[in-house]
Symmetry: D2
Subunit: 478 residues, 4 copies
């Protein structure tokens, strides 16, 4: 079974008394939906009895009032949204993983990707272990349960397990009486917790999920930390695993997280505005209006506008009614003519020199179409600025990179790309500017391996690495 | 049966050869979805055989690939999206209305509201006519069919019928061999047509629907005009009904239409930017940032920012995954705490004096909640500006006004409203500024009766009027 | 639009106080489901307000608890199940038809087929009338409403309308304050009423629907009679239209109705047992066991067994779990091998001479398959007996006959059919025996035109007749 | 997690070449649907890649054409239908269980109940094993996989595992290249195999499933036998576990299996007819007609009729359109009046002395209702005969017994029951007659512990036994 890339969202809640934790988790998952749209799941813990439902689909489709009602009330709940790689069985890999073991039930939800999952799995299978899915969450649960047999507590078992896990993971574990959060020692992916008015606690991938249930942010879970929530309050376990420099994924700021979230003290919106400002400094141009590709290019467009003094405008209207079952135009359709998902606001760009801000350039085909729309609407010049550097290396920590031989930056020079996309000029954010996004003056505390090839951990063994690398074109391997 | 307010969207297509007109109409309706989300319908005409499907729900839910496939191909199709007033049977009132008569099939889709529908209906019923729904479209179809018996053509029947219809209507009629558009003599609601690359034609409520299928805009249907599309091309019928001054609904610009549409030569986006500029002139304030309530307040916020020089910022993130079946928080939830549908970008407003632009203030409760969110996120001052004047009179031409005794502007003074909503200052766009939105220097060519009580037509008789007026609070009647 | 054959079921209920009439109608329609599985509908009348829902599908799928709940309570309800001819729009033609006219709402449900529907429709269309569907029910409602303008009451309008309607119809009409049943003067299709414990009344196509809601049978509606149910009780209108000899459809007994129903005083089960007895007399054979094709051949099999003295056995098991969405085996499957819907009880037939009773032989292909199954299970001889005579003429009164050029009896001699089906002997019930089924000694009081070509009414005009006849093969026209 | 009673149906198919094994399994499960309606599942094996789908619901609802299509083609498939005990998570416990282990994939489907499942599970959990569901199938898969580590083949692992499993199980196991059937040494539940025309093989719980796919019955799997199907044909493994006297569950004949199935050489239909004959001998009565409660009482009714000479009649019509989502009548309904699911054929029983045959009497409430229906329809006497002896002991081998304190036979004498049900006389089949049902002259080869308390195996330990016994009323424990 193929190893899965799991950029996901996790959400856990603990309330002092039985309450409608299922619905709170439902709201929390709504706020995290952008982190994964393939499948979702909620597990409710009512005095040690676990009721769960997981299914392929987005939260709004999977969880009906009837379904939430069946999950019932409890003191704790755990939820997950998952991004799925095509070709895998989304239903089987949906989380949280819920297992029964000698001490009762345990549920686990994970965001991130282990670099030694193959080694761990093989070791377990040689002891006769059985696996149902291909998810790291299941492997982690096996490792924890094995350790549980010789541990005094779940947190002790998790602590021991963390010494075996390598790579990226932000997990939330629910035992019959505890809700536990743990983040790998590099802190690749975000994880934080907040407090509710009634004294309950919420753990979430991003702060926007705390906001969604009215929880006040307390703090981020630190890299390598275990936070244990019980009826006696919050307990922190640190210093149990090796100390390393933190490496928060820079792509969380540039692309993945929601602009209203704050990760490790830095506003995502602000990081993007900063990226726009840096772009304006690095790649200035004379123009009449700055527009962003909605939704993720808007923040950087504001930064570019502010730094350059060129007015900010609304360049596009995105159709918000297009859902999962939308029937895309067929081959016969003149794709460059139809404007179903995105239309230009012609008034904004007609007769203007336009700076167009996008968060990244992947295949380049979408960019080329958008540029054509702008020109058809009367833009006299189009200057494209990307708020991320060229993305050229595989990510082993959770970001799915697709088939890399189609990545335009791996296969073409800047000049070629400018031509292919059809813009008057093109500028990428430089790797050197990245520290500024999070208020640093030099590279420190983050992972930018996808741009730089500098991996902060050992990387998967040859067998696995080969699979990743098959996806990278020859040109990129230099 | 209650008279229905029908702010809706219409779309018709005519292609020289049989083609997938159902799917084109599907895309057109997507672009018009903002004009009505209660029900939608498509009718395909294949050589005089009409196949139709109408159902309650949005286009994305109602029309599956299987459903579109069943509609098949043809030379023509007609589509409709409808806004429904609560309490009426949405399924029964879905359009297009498809009827069989002595000359074959006819389908009709309408946007607008007649002021003499009761009189017309009674007259018909006294001749033994039967009605299935409460829609004006059905009444109009009866009037046309009656005239058809003594007319040489459908367009002649439509022309005669138009002399009986009073009020607002933008209709598209599909006969076995013709696609016909007609707009009431006041031109209350928009209607335009465009041309396809293959020589086909498209009729739509807004230009954004032409864009969605790659049609090039030709022109607006003129008030009182009938445009007939057949295999021989486009024919215009004018001067058949009385000439009056045009009265395009100003609310189309302020609120209803999509910003990327152009109505009667004026960009909707531009009209809103202009409204923001006027607001900045009429109600200036010292502040640090201008933000708009998404999505309809964003254009005016840019106008306010430009005119005032106060920086534009992104103040909110709207959750785009919340759909029709979303389970809203119950009574128990502290509504002012949870931020599910809308969250603030705290970074933008913390420690700032904020100008908040909304397109209108209706009940005031949503505004109050939003203002509280801003203050909780650290805004030091909040100055609310409404890009529409106070809305105090019933609309007889198609805009549903709800129960008016809850309209805050009808029941409170400006000072009271400022206090209720909890803002530091409040300013409405003045009625005098309205001409500027559409590039005029004085009141001319538009209807603003909802703000001014100046109705451009006779209004419904006492029996009907009373029903409308029961909805208006005493205070408003002055 | 094609004229539709409507063998259907109707159900109406009137209760003294508001009650859950929707659910009662739901149960009534369940009992009548065998009369039509294409679409169904229920209309509830709460003090003159009509709420309705109609959809394609069987009662169990169309009416959910939520849907019934939305229909609410009332004093009256009207329901309908409809058999659909392929190729027509089932949704459009679903009943009851609900209309609004000058006096308020009216709903109508019909079982039967007019012979002058084309003439009536043309007459109405020439007056400017509009039709939505192709159903007789809609035509009848137009005729009634026209008469209503000059009548003192609905029943008077119905009475006048009946003088214009020719052919077969069993209608139930619901006005704001009345529930009315009417049956054509020939009484082609059944219609009866019963009384509820609380003093309410029920009208239904068959007595089994009275049983389903616990109503006690009162009596059949007589041919040509109108029965009016109001708060003042039951009133009968007779002698208002011309008196003719009654002609109940004999196929109701042989095939259509449920065995537990009693029609015009005759038990359907008993009529079928009698058919089996007659078959035993007309076509005796030496055999070891008599089996019926489930479900409709079982009653006659018992009759054959009783009369012949040959033991009755259970020859087949029918899979009761196969529903509407069952995926039938494809072309590749050896159809004579797989036994999905029907399997033999080998123990019953192995080494035996079998008499096989079926209710009719249509194309012969199903029969041939069943006979092969029996032989494969070890039957040494198979003697097929059909409890209906050969079906060779079109029915203009409501029974859909499909494409007649494939009817085996129209195209082959008895000897040929015996060979094609692969039986050792074959016998049809003789036309002369038909009177015995309903306890008569000679032909009287029923219609057997489909067997004999003796139509009790004028038949449709040339234009329509031609359409019917195109379906009949040349051989049958002699 | 509660131990589940699993009366289920299993189906496996092996074809020489890739074929549409999913659809064949779909048909096989249709034939076995009567063995379990809670959930169902299909796993397709295409060259070692397993694709599966399991869901709550019946086969017709769970498997759509699209769903079957996604399962694709392969050489092997495995299917399961499951009977669910209320209160358990049907989705989690759906089968087949599909696992990944060191040697690849394995799928397992089971019918039956282990008596030592708690002991096995505890032993595994103490080694750190994790369980997802509460099913025996999952436990069995763990035991097999553990043995697999030190075995040369799957069949060797299964053989070793069988020496650890106690109680009832009929399993089908699918490995990447083998399809394997195994039946516990007592042979509690049926399992057989057949051959397809193309040389493929089918394994199924009952012969009716072989018939459904056109397979020819080869033979039953013997108690204690393992049958291995590979590309090299069929191999049998015997003598690997201890030899005991066979104990086929007698309830399979009386109630569970389909009448057209043949189990261990005995026709189920014939066994039921025999039960009816024995009843006629043991409990004769003077009467006019014998009727059976559909569907399971019909076979015995024929036996009673034949032995007694009293005519067989059709006493009831069962509504075949009532599905899963049927809305049952509420409390307010006079239950003894409404005849929705079952109606009497009054003609059959009016004025008659009726012998009523049912397959078992559980709570007695349904019987009482049916008897009342018969009397209301005019039956002068009703004599009830049950083709099963009183059911008074728990079954540990797979038959769910519900809460036993409501079983009428546990709580009342024959006289009391006669009175409660309201019959003129009552007779149960005697335990002594049971051998005759399967052609024996004395008790031998079957399990009748539910009637006699004679368990052929050790029974579950105290902890588990207590749970079962809590369900039995005090009266029954003697």
């Amino acid at each position: 079974m193929e190893k899965l890339h799991e950029e996901c969202g996790v959400f856990g809640i603990y309330t002092p008394e039985d309450s409608d934790v299922a619905t709170s988790t439902y709201y929390g998952l709504f706020a995290l939906q952008h982190r994964g749209q393939e499948s979702c799941g909620i597990v409710v813990n009512e005095d040690g009895i676990f009721r769960s439902y997981k299914e392929v689909g987005i939260v709004n489709d999977v969880f009906t009032a009837e379904r939430l009602n069946k999950l019932g009330t409890g003191k704790m709940a755990l939820g997950h949204v998952r991004y799925g790689t095509s070709g895998t069985d989304g239903r089987l890999n949906a989380q949280p993983v819920v297992v029964n073991h000698i001490k009762g039930h345990m549920a686990i939800a994970n965001n991130g990707c282990l670099v030694n999952s193959y080694e761990l799995r093989e070791e377990l299978e040689l002891q006769g272990s059985i696996f149902i899915s291909g998810s790291d969450a299941e492997i982690i649960s096996h490792v924890i349960i094995k350790e549980r047999l010789n541990s005094q507590s779940v947190e002790e078992a998790i602590s021991k397990a963390m010494n075996k896990l390598k790579g990226a993971y932000s997990i939330v574990v629910m035992s019959p009486s505890k809700l536990i959060a743990a983040r790998d020692e590099n802190g690749f992916h975000p994880l934080c917790y907040g407090i509710l008015e009634d004294g309950g606690y919420v753990i979430a991938s991003e702060t926007c999920a705390l906001d969604s249930v009215g929880a006040d942010f307390v703090r981020d879970i630190e890299p390598g930390e275990i936070v244990v929530i019980t009826k006696d309050g919050v307990k922190s376990v640190k210093d149990h695993c090796k100390q390393v420099e933190p490496h928060i994924c820079i792509f969380e700021y540039i692309y993945f997280a929601r602009p209203d979230s704050v990760i490790d003290g830095i506003s995502v919106h602000q990081a993007r505005v900063k990226a726009g400002e840096c772009l304006a400094q690095e790649h200035p141009v004379e123009a009449d209006v700055v527009i962003g590709v909605p939704d993720s290019g808007l923040d950087a467009a504001i930064g570019y506008s502010r730094e350059s003094g060129i007015p900010y405008g609304i360049g596009f209207i995105k159709n918000k009614y297009i859902g999962r079952t939308f029937i895309a135009p067929g081959q016969k359709t003149r794709e460059d003519k139809v404007r179903i998902k995105l239309n230009t606001v012609a008034e904004t760009v007609r007769g203007k020199r336009v700076v167009l801000i996008d968060d990244s350039i992947v295949r380049g085909t979408t960019c080329a179409r958008i540029v054509k729309l702008l020109r058809d609407s009367g833009a006299t010049e189009v200057h494209l600025r990307s708020s991320a550097p060229p993305f050229v290396n595989p990510c082993y920590y959770g970001t799915d990179i697709g088939s890399r031989d189609v990545l335009i930056a791996c296969n073409h020079t800047l000049e070629e790309i400018t031509k292919i996309i059809g813009v008057d000029s093109l500028g990428y954010l430089s790797v050197d500017s990245i520290p500024k996004l999070i208020g640093k003056t030099e590279k420190c505390g983050y992972c930018d391996a996808c741009f730089t090839n500098n991996y902060p951990t050992e990387i998967p063994g040859e067998r696995v690495k080969r699979r990743y690398e098959q996806k990278i074109s020859e040109k990129c391997k230099r």
